[in-house]
Symmetry: C2
Subunit: 139 residues, 2 copies
DNA sequence: GCTTGACTTAGAGCGCGCTCAAAGCCGTAG
DNA sequence: CTACGGCTTTGAGCGCGCTCTAAGTCAAGC
């Protein structure tokens, strides 16, 4: 598989695939006799795993640590597991934060919904609700 | 309240507070007679709201749009509501992605746990499980 | 009076994760 | 044979969100 094909199948650009190889996130790919990368389809699983790490907010430098351990073989199993478990905890924390923010956002949106219905027909905005008409922000 | 106090209470640095004012995320703060910013405590609510938008991944340029609308007064209520509702949908989508990634991560971690227990005592790794010993990544 | 430290400004610099540019090579279609 | 597209490399550039520097002002404490 050439880099253009892998780009299509992985959803990453060829630029990004080369960049990932350069920094060590992807293994050095075999080159054909004209020097072009020739990928094995199995690389897609690794890329998919990287994508999940990225989605969950892992910085590239940590992915590199993982990739390096993986390259170092079986004796790094425990270390790799530990890295993933730590990451998982961070993800869970972040997820909880996000959910709290989402609930807050829902409240605010509910306020906008209510305010809209009474627009120009009721001046008494509910003071115990989420307010949002403050002094010149961004002015 | 001076900028140092607000920094402590908001969790943002004084540098960041000034930066936010410069770009228009925070309203231009009143200055005392020696030119120093003197904040009203109510600014904390706005900062908290910004923090939630940021946590949920809203780029600064969109927060600026919101801040501008808020500054423009009541006639932007509908627009502001729409912006927040769109944002909420993106957050929900992202949340679902994250949860899927987390489940995947849990599986992988479970694999590491199992592999550890049988380490050097069982060569037959479960092929139908999450594998993780691939050709020289990062090498 | 003098030091200390928090504040002011405009603007430069940084870390991250790409993204693209330049110059050149290779192989296949017409 | 030639033109074309897709690949190669190294290294520069970019958008984001801060973060810090430099040079200077001001107010309070010793």
């Amino acid at each position: 598989m050439k880099i253009g094909d892998l780009a299509k199948r992985s959803g990453l650009s060829a630029h990004t695939l080369r960049y990932y190889e350069r920094i060590g996130l992807l293994p050095y790919a075999d080159r054909d006799r004209s020097g072009q990368r020739d990928y094995d389809a199995s690389i897609l699983e690794w890329i998919e795993f990287l994508r999940r790490l990225k989605t969950t907010g892992m910085p590239i430098r940590d992915m590199l640590r993982y990739a390096q351990m993986r390259a170092d073989g079986d004796e790094t199993f425990a270390e790799r597991g530990a890295l993933l478990r730590e990451h998982r905890e961070r993800v869970r924390t972040h997820l909880a934060d996000l959910e709290a923010c989402l609930r807050s956002l829902d409240k605010k949106i509910a306020f906008y919904g209510k305010a809209k219905q009474r627009k120009d027909a009721d001046d008494g905005l509910p003071k115990n609700d989420d307010e949002d008409t403050a002094p010149r922000p961004g002015a």
